[in-house]
């Protein structure tokens, strides 16, 4: 079996986000990039599935973007993924465009099982896994915290409001990974050395017209500086009064 894991290259979550002068993108000054945190759970689950399935099971990592994404692809390779593919584009693709490019590559690779992070922590759409599955006519379970594969049958638990849904489906399938699915391994020194020797295949991403158009970005309105009501529980009555009479929230 061939397993795909799709990764995105995103600003570090500790990064402050500022708006660029153009007004429709973020200011790149001082922004460092990392592998999307949810994608680490996807990579780990792909590797665990390979280890369990054994035989000639292979894992390929796919990313859509420019040369900078190679760093994130290398990170997956260092964790133990067998090979990497960069679908190159200099355009700012929307989710639909990325799903389209990924689906074409997944099809040509013949991958029947695909892992992705549940969302990228940049645009926070949480739609690419489901879109890709709909383009491929694969099944898809999103926001997965438990995954079991037996032959062609898949049983998952997906996190929803107030609990978990147990979902059953079949291959071919896309799984979107939520935190809690597993504990991602650290890349070993050996893994990092080996990753340097693995080749990253580069090919142009299939380009599609964007369905969405960005009008502009802005910072959320700054909060007015609040009031410190005291330094101990003697401030409690005033807090309760304000919540009740001023804020009217209790």
């Amino acid at each position: 079996m061939k397993i795909a894991v799709c990764v995105s290259h995103v600003p570090d979550t500790a990064t402050k986000i500022n708006i660029a002068a153009t007004g429709n993108e973020i200011d790149q000054t001082g922004v460092t990039y990392i592998i999307n945190p949810y994608d680490e759970f996807a990579v780990e689950e792909a590797l665990r599935t390979k280890e369990k399935e054994g035989g000639d099971t292979q894992v390929v990592v796919i990313s859509v973007g420019n040369d900078a994404n190679k760093e994130t692809i290398r990170k997956a390779l260092a964790m133990g993924v067998d090979s990497g593919i960069l679908l190159k584009t200099e355009n700012k693709m929307d989710s639909f465009g990325i799903a389209k490019a990924l689906s074409e590559e997944i099809k040509s690779q013949g991958c029947e099982l695909v892992f992705m992070g549940k969302q990228s922590v940049d645009f926070d759409n949480q739609i690419i896994p489901q879109m890709t599955s709909a383009l491929l006519d694969y099944s898809c379970v999103s926001v997965v915290v438990e995954f079991k594969l037996e032959g062609q049958n898949i049983t998952c638990e997906r996190e929803i409001e107030g609990g978990k849904e147990v979902v059953s489906t079949k291959l071919p399938c896309i799984i979107s990974a939520q935190k809690g699915l597993n504990e991602p391994r650290y890349a070993s020194l050996k893994g990092i050395m080996a990753a340097k020797k693995k080749t990253i295949e580069e090919k142009p991403a299939v380009e599609t017209e964007n369905q969405t158009e960005i009008i502009g970005l802005k910072k959320p309105p700054a909060k007015a500086h609040g009031r410190i009501l005291g330094t101990d529980s003697s401030a409690v009555p005033e807090l309760v009064r304000l919540l009740r009479e001023e804020a009217k929230v209790i």
Binding site: P11, S95, I127, I128, E165, E213, I214, V236, A247
Partner: protein, 320 residues
């Protein structure tokens, strides 16, 4: 014939969720501005409060019924909504950005060749176009955006759009579904302990490392109980294993916008602030006067959580 907007409702265990009324109300509002006809659709078995949707300005309700569809099935639901949207030539679709809506909407979008804008916190009509505002980078920035596709699909963040009451006539059409495609289906719902989910709660009481241990979180639980609130947690305490991940608020947890957010012993890392600073009112209780959480708080007490929380809980309990 006027163009059509299709509002997709969500039921759980035979009851419409609160966010469904928000969806209906927003659909009615957009319909008014763009001169559209609203059609509302729900899938499930019996839905006890379906008629209540007509309190929010929408009349035409279609209920696709089959007893196996009381549980969510992405395969069956996608097919039913897609076919129905084609049948009524829907130009717009709208649903709530809940676990259900997030899972379903992009699939329907692809099948209809409709663009998707999800997790919208504002939808304005300007020059006959819908302009959406949605948070990105977990709320560190806001993006104004629109769709260029012929068919347009939006999902709205729960708890942001207040449903406007407007009682109208109720016209229900029930359609039985024969042999739904249940190749992917929910077989069981495992309810989590704890009463309320942070993603849906109107009040959240969150705790951080300042609580010192998992055991001390009972102070948070007691205050949450008194307020009828959900318990939230910072990433640090989730990573330490004190609390389950589903309670985590922040960039790698949940982004929330409750009416009231009470942050106890949380210093306010940038990822946490991103996830909660759009709350309507924020209370911070923290020993460190320089904690960044005070920068977003409306009211703060710069003191010891162990001394303040029991007194606050007691005071809340005394309210009528």
């Amino acid at each position: 014939m006027a163009n059509t907007i299709l509002a997709i409702l969500e039921q759980r265990e035979g009851k419409l969720k609160k966010s469904s009324f928000e969806t209906a109300s927003v659909a009615a509002k957009i319909a008014k501005n763009l001169n559209l006809t609203v059609v509302v659709v729900a899938i499930g078995n019996d839905i006890s409060n379906l008629e209540e949707v007509s309190n929010y300005g929408v009349s035409n309700v279609t209920h696709f019924k089959n007893n196996v569809l009381s549980n969510y099935s992405s395969s069956a639901y996608t097919k039913i909504i897609t076919e129905y949207a084609k049948e009524i030539s829907a130009d717009y679709l709208i649903t709530a950005n809940t676990s259900f809506g997030k899972d379903l909407a992009p699939r329907v979008g692809i099948k209809l060749n409709a663009g998707c804008l999800v997790d919208c916190v504002k939808l304005d009509v300007q020059n006959n176009e819908v302009i959406a505002t949605r948070p990105i980078y977990a709320g560190k920035a806001l993006m104004e955006t629109k769709l260029n596709s012929n068919i347009k699909l939006f999902t709205i963040r729960p708890n942001v759009f207040k449903p406007e009451e407007n009682k109208v006539e109720y016209n229900l059409t029930t359609k039985n579904v024969d042999n739904p495609d249940t190749s992917t289906i929910v077989s069981e719902f495992k309810k989590a302990e704890g009463k309320l989910d942070v993603a849906e709660a109107d009040i959240i009481v969150s705790g951080g490392r300042g609580l010192k241990s998992a055991e001390e979180f009972k102070l948070i639980e007691e205050l949450a109980d008194a307020l009828g609130a959900a318990v939230g947690a910072s990433r640090a305490v989730v990573d330490a294993g004190w609390r389950p991940h589903r309670e985590q608020v922040g960039q790698t947890g949940k982004t929330v916008s409750p009416s009231l957010y009470v942050a106890c012993g949380i210093s306010g890392a940038i990822q946490h602030l991103a996830g909660m600073s759009s709350s309507k009112y924020i209370v911070a209780i923290n020993k460190d006067k320089d904690a960044p959480i005070f920068g977003v708080a409306d009211y703060g007490i710069n003191g010891d959580v162990f001394e303040i929380l029991p007194k606050l809980t007691e005071a809340i309990k005394l309210l009528d």
